[in-house]
């Protein structure tokens, strides 16, 4: 026998109360002088035994009543007993709704089977059972309204997220531990997808702990899948996406199944419409991955959905992936020339201008990148906000007013690229842009120009610009300015072959900053005449331009946080899931920040594109989510692993059309409070009757 409120067993000490009262009463007598003792003595002698017996009976009844009351409060539970009215069952049902539960079965999906199983489990509970229903990511409050729980089962959504089922079990078990019930049951309805259990050893240990006080049922649904092709990566190769300018998209496809696949078509869709011919992967061995290269063209300015799709298989969530890309008609770059020179070719920005617009003069007006060259003296009249990026090329000093404007411009989303050179005076940059505004994450060394000797550069570890090392290998660097890192955050993008910093990348407000410590012309290196220079300059610009759309492509389940113009703060916005036009939109309000407004959205469970309609804005914003790649492996827990779990977990398998009512048949253990309450009432009645009867004169 167990007790649900063991602490209240201390109430058994109250059994001493009637005894104490009895003993105290025996000591408390009123003294009365008396003459007719003879008759009194006879009467007492005649009744003494009866009175003692009555006293004992009453005392026993009172003690028993209090003992029973204390036991009742402690809520005893008799194991191996069933069918006692008033026994309470507390249960938690976790229905796995991770991406793998979307796997197709004969007639439905694994999640549909899981919902059926959950309904069957629910129908096996006695009335009054407290049931907490949870998906893999969200738990409802426990409820005694089984109809409400049944309705909630049908509302559990399919997601494309990766689940941590150990954590879900922990949460459900903690909820059950806090409940007072004779029977506690935890049901996990899942496909036993191996990737969702983390370390099996840890899972086994934790389940064993939980099963000490809670009856754990593992209900599996779904049949194993032998093949699954998945899009494991989708990368737009071009960093600048302009209207009607084809750009490359690199796609990685992985065979997660155990059978080889051949002639795998990879299709491209732009805004839902097929684009070009499908790329065919000839053969894909189990466990292998291959890349496909596709080309897309965005027809209009604004946001577009670029989707890559495989032929659908049983695990559909990873057969499509969408990214949102913004197309621009024109990208304007302001080149501030610190050393114009006598001839155009001698100017500091000559190579930069040609790298940004590598087309003949007559075609430059139609080219999407529009460089504009100004000298430092012209900056006062220049509206920085017209430009996507500002390049300071060997500019000697940064005027005080320009430094202020520049910091505001970058904070609002602009881009800044600084090239060093012989004219650049470190004190000016360090004082205004590094220390005062924190715009530059590093300071230039004030030592004399640091001759580096013939050196080359290599991409940093992450190669954020995606540059080809071989192309960079031919570039010779003769001079540079030293860079001194402070406490501000930055990422190295290029390093010299001795490990020294060459290029840093950092964020400032909504904008992006690159610092290159060598020159943009041929003064300190021959980079400008090497093939690597054009992609280098364009990718710097692409990173700056794309930075505004950074965070618009997230993994399913991640919280979307996208910064927008500060003027949009407080505006209402409605978010629609584009794959389901009939779905209701989610209402939200753009939050305010110091220099921007923020769109925050956490209901990103389904993979695909979402549309955000912001009040007052004519063009909608798009963003996309992708299914978790961790869900793509079709591997399930093996029979050996399930056998080990079966030592302490009730294992059952739910097939479509399984017989209802198979759950709860073995439920044992009954709470005895109801019979105890009746007994207490009976004892109370007996006490009243006996007390009246015994106190009658005899």
């Amino acid at each position: 026998m167990n007790f649900l409120n063991q602490a209240l067993l201390w109430g058994l000490a109250a059994v001493s109360l009637p005894i104490i009262i009895h003993l105290l009463n025996r000591r408390r007598f009123r003294r009365e002088p008396w003459a007719a003792m003879r008759f009194l003595k006879v009467s007492v002698e005649q009744n003494q035994r009866r009175m003692k017996l009555e006293d004992w009976v009453l005392l026993l009844v009172r003690c028993a009543m209090i003992a029973l009351l204390a036991l009742l409060m402690a809520r005893p539970v008799m194991e191996g007993l069933s069918g006692v009215p008033g026994s309470k069952v507390a249960a938690a049902i976790i229905v796995d709704n991770s991406a793998s539960m979307g796997t197709r079965e004969t007639e439905s999906t694994r999640l549909s089977l899981a919902r059926e199983a959950a309904h069957a489990i629910l129908s096996g509970f006695p009335g009054g059972t407290s049931v907490a229903l949870a998906g893999a990511f969200h738990a409802h409050e426990a409820s005694n309204d089984l109809e409400l729980v049944a309705a909630r089962i049908d509302e559990i959504p399919q997601t494309d997220r990766h689940a941590d089922l150990q954590r879900s079990l922990e949460v459900a078990a903690r909820g059950l531990e806090g409940q007072a019930a004779s029977v506690k049951e935890l049901y996990l309805v899942t496909d036993a997808h191996a990737a969702e259990w983390g370390s099996f050893g840890a899972l086994e240990a934790r389940l064993r702990d939980i099963a000490m006080g809670i009856k754990v049922h593992l209900v599996t649904v779904g049949a194993p899948v032998r093949s699954n092709l998945a899009i494991s990566s989708l990368r737009p190769a071009a960093t600048l996406t302009s209207v009607n300018q084809p750009f490359r998209i690199d796609v990685d496809v992985t065979n997660h199944g155990d059978v080889p696949m051949s002639a795998v078509p990879v299709k491209l869709l732009v805004d839902g419409q097929p684009e070009g011919e499908a790329w065919i992967i000839d053969e894909l061995q189990p466990g292998d991955g291959q890349s496909a290269t596709l080309y897309a063209t965005l027809p209009t300015p604004g946001y577009h959905r670029v989707t890559v799709a495989l032929k659908g298989d049983k695990m559909p969530f990873d057969d499509r992936r969408t990214v949102v890309i913004k197309a621009r008609e024109e990208v304007s770059v302001l080149l501030v020339d610190g050393d114009p020179g006598q001839e155009a070719r001698d100017s500091e920005t000559f190579f930069l201008r040609h790298a940004l617009a590598p087309v003949p003069e007559e075609e430059q007006t139609d080219y999407p990148v529009q460089p504009r060259i100004v000298s430092i003296s012209d900056l006062a009249e220049e509206d920085l906000n017209r430009h996507h990026a500002v390049v300071l090329a060997n500019v000697a000093d940064v005027p005080l007013g320009f430094a202020d404007r520049l910091s505001r411009y970058v904070e609002a989303g602009g881009g800044l690229i600084v090239f060093a050179g012989g004219n650049l005076r470190p004190e000016s940059y360090n004082t205004l842009l590094h220390r005062k505004h924190g715009l530059l994450p590093v300071a230039f060394s004030t030592d004399d120009e640091d001759a580096v000797g013939p050196r080359t550069v290599v991409p940093a570890e992450t190669n954020p610009l995606g540059l080809d090392s071989d192309l960079l290998a031919g570039v010779v660097f003769r001079k540079k300015l030293g860079l001194e890192a402070g406490e501000m955050e930055y990422r190295p993008a290029l390093r010299y072959d001795d490990g020294g910093l060459a290029l840093t990348e950092s964020e400032y407000g909504r904008g992006k900053v690159f610092v290159f410590n060598s020159s943009a012309d041929l003064e300190w290196n021959d980079f400008a005449i090497r093939p690597a220079f054009v992609p280098f300059v364009n990718r710097l610009l692409g990173k700056i331009v794309q930075n505004r759309e950074a965070g618009l492509n997230v993994e399913a389940g991640q919280v979307l946080r996208h910064r927008l113009d500060v003027g949009l703060a407080g505006r209402p916005a409605t978010i629609y899931e584009m794959r389901d036009p009939e779905a209701l939109g989610y209402l939200t309000t753009l939050a305010g920040g110091e220099s921007s407004s923020v769109l925050k959205f956490d209901r990103t469970g389904r993979a695909g594109a979402y549309q955000v309609a912001i009040e007052g804005e004519s063009e909608p914003l798009l963003f996309s989510t992708r299914a978790s790649v961790r869900e793509s492996s079709p591997e399930l827990l093996g029979s050996e692993q399930l056998g080990r779990l079966g030592a302490f977990v009730e294992l059952s398998r739910w097939e479509s059309m399984s017989k209802q009512g198979s759950f709860g048949m073995e439920r044992q253990g009954a709470e005895l409070w109801w019979p105890l309450l009746l007994t207490v009432i009976l004892f109370g009645a007996i006490e009243i009757v006996l007390a009246q009867w015994f106190s009658r004169s005899k």
């Binding site: 025996r26 009365e32 002088p33 008396w34 003459a35 003792m37 008759f39 009467s43």
Partner: protein
């Protein structure tokens, strides 16, 4: 001046005795004022003459022989006898101290004795007084002198109980001591051995005495109204009894009533008279009871 005289002159004793005497006189004469006939006439008297019957006369005194001869109604009239003796024996044991109200059984008994003494002396009979517990503690020999009344009152008023009750030896003793036949009136609660008591009463009857047993009881002794846990402390050095009275009330009532009925029946079986009194009962009712009895016996 001897001790007896000094005691009589003690102002407190005089006050006590006078109070008792005054009370007795008040009670007796108050009772007499309501009666048409003299209580002094009617017992212990010799025939004097006839008188013609008048309405209101007791028909028991009609002379039927004269009526048979003359066909007229005549009442027999008697002369008082002056040498009648009444022995008042008052139980002064500790059990008589009990009183739940304003008055104890002993105080009530004293008042009864005082009233009877007053009544009898005014009838020009003799009264002897004995106060006893285990033995006779106070005794005033018989006297028909009304001046003796104060002495009786004084003895009654000044008596304080100290010991337990032993009725039988006392009555046996009195039966042996009293030479002249008379009325022996015993005032007590009679909480004593019934068998021995009856033997002693029989002894008195054997000696030719009229015996009247007047039982004085407290209302609580009859009703037993106690509740809760009570520790009864015996007034005659009896051990304590702890009990819950409400649970034995019926049993007590049964025992007590059986005792009273048995005593009454046994006493009457021995041609004695039994008068029961409660201390919350007016004394004149008790006196009326007594005088009714006397009239019936004299009639």
């Amino acid at each position: 001046m001897d001790a007896e005289t000094r005691k009589l002159l003690d102002p407190r004793a005089i006050a006590r005795a006078e109070a008792l005497g005054m009370n007795a006189r008040f009670i007796v004469e108050g009772y007499m004022a309501g009666e048409h006939k003299s209580p002094y006439r009617g017992f212990a008297i010799e025939f004097a003459q006839h008188r013609e019957y008048a309405p209101g006369d007791d028909v028991r005194h009609l002379d039927w022989k004269v009526q048979a001869k003359t066909e007229r109604y005549y009442i027999k009239q008697y002369e008082q006898e002056t040498n009648f003796v009444a022995h008042l024996l008052l139980d002064g044991s500790e059990s008589m101290k009990y009183g739940s109200g304003e008055i104890s059984k002993l105080e009530y008994g004293k008042m009864m004795a005082a009233c009877l003494a007053y009544l009898i002396l005014h009838q020009r009979d003799s009264v002897a007084l004995g106060i006893f517990d285990e033995e006779v503690q106070e005794y005033l020999p018989r006297s028909d002198n009304r001046d003796n009344l104060f002495r009786i009152m004084d003895r009654l008023a000044g008596f304080e109980p100290l010991r337990g009750t032993r009725l039988a030896p006392v009555l046996h003793g009195m039966a042996g001591q009293i030479k002249r036949k008379g009325i022996v009136i015993v005032i007590s609660d009679f909480f004593d051995d019934e068998e021995e008591l009856l033997q002693s009463v029989q002894h008195l009857r054997f000696k030719g005495h009229e015996v009247i047993l007047m039982q004085v009881l407290d209302p609580c002794e009859i009703d037993f109204p106690f509740t809760g846990n009570v520790e009864f402390e015996g007034l005659e050095d009896l051990p304590l009894i702890r009990t819950r009275p409400s649970q034995i009330k019926k049993s007590y009532h049964r025992e007590f009533e059986e005792f009273r009925e048995r005593l009454r029946a046994d006493v009457e079986r021995h041609q004695c008279h039994f008068v029961g009194a409660r201390t919350d009962q007016p004394l004149d009712e008790v006196l009326a009871n007594y005088l009714t009895f006397r009239k019936s016996t004299a009639g």
